[in-house]
Amino acid sequence: MNFIGKTKELLLAYPSMQGVTLQESVNVMLTPQFYTLKKESIPVKYAYQAKKIAPSLFEGLLEQGGTYDYIVFKEEDMWVFIAYDLDNITHFLASKGIEASMISKIFFAQQCVDSFHTPLALGDKEALVVLDDIVVVVPRIALGEEEQLSFVFPQNCTPKSGISLQGEVGSVLSKKQAYTLASIFVLFAIVFMVEGARYGGEGDAGAQKLQTLYEAYPALQSSYTREGIVNKYREIDSKEREKRDIVKTLGSMIFKGVTLTALRIDEKKFKAQFSCTNAQVLKRVKALAKKAKYNISNTKDNHTVGIEGSI
């Protein structure tokens, strides 16, 4: 099916053909000199199954040293197997001015067997004819005089399947390698996508917990509200804990020989006064106050110590 309505020119390639100069890519049809054909009736349903056994069918029939590929298609009840050496074909075509980059697809004359019922002249000496439903090349001399000869290659046949050279010639990767690599990369891509999707759906335990909290405390849903409350109470909490710590620390300074004579705590500072029975005790109280990083104020009395600080 040609959606853009443009059909490529079909060029018949045969050994004695003249060289050509191409402006745009073409399809090429090869005469039997470029391939080996075999017809078999084998009990397989699909072409790919038939293609698997193609190498064994041509065993001993092909020239040694060649690299052969195979194309298989069905003609009525028979499977048609064609073996071809792509390197030889591309070399020949290049020698005639048909570069691989200018070849869209390569077909085989056998694929258009119905188009050759009228013998087609191949140069001065040969002709393409159909014998027993097989396209063959015969010397023109072998044709009877009553046989009508065509000199125009019919353009009306474009087989469904052909060989695509794109990606086969001048390419670093073979098609098989490319598809293998692509499969691996796509597999990784699928793994990443699945993992990504899983990550997207996970971690809802925290969100559920948060949702429960939202439902239990609807007034605290706004983060601004929460922040405001936290700021307000955090300051109170911190200051009040400090006041209580101060009282606790000052309390720890009361031991044998020490008496608390005054204590004043307001919102910004505190001041305590201790009376000590002797200089030794006084020294110990001062040391404790110093350890707690409180200020020690001088008093007139040698047995009294004042301790103060800010909150």
Binding site: Q166, G167, S183, A189, G206, L210, V230, T261
Partner: protein, 133 residues
Amino acid sequence: MSWKQYQNELIALGAVAVMLFAYLYKHNQVTSQVTHAKTVQQSIAEFKEVIALKKVWADKKTAKKIDTLHTLIPASKVKWSKKSKKVTASYTGLTSNELNKLMTKILNLPLIITLLDVQKIGSNYNVEFKCKW
């Protein structure tokens, strides 16, 4: 040069691009998940802190609990004034034990101490106490 000549490489490159896209997608999902989890954890922590702080400093029972500071000491030694959410109390002639009991109670109640003034007079103590909640 025709791009079709390199279609195998293009197929492989296309697959690499798809893989990279998928990797970026995964990376993005992981990052956003971590960020989301952090935000959720932060919100939960904030929530818990708010609840804990409110439980202590905005306890509605505090007004009732504070009355123990009045009843703890014999009434003859206490001058008590409770208005709105503020208390002003004066304690006179407290023994050491009474002072200890009073101080322990004051320190254990969730009050905002605005003034705590303790003076030793002879062997007893006078306490002036102002607080709010």
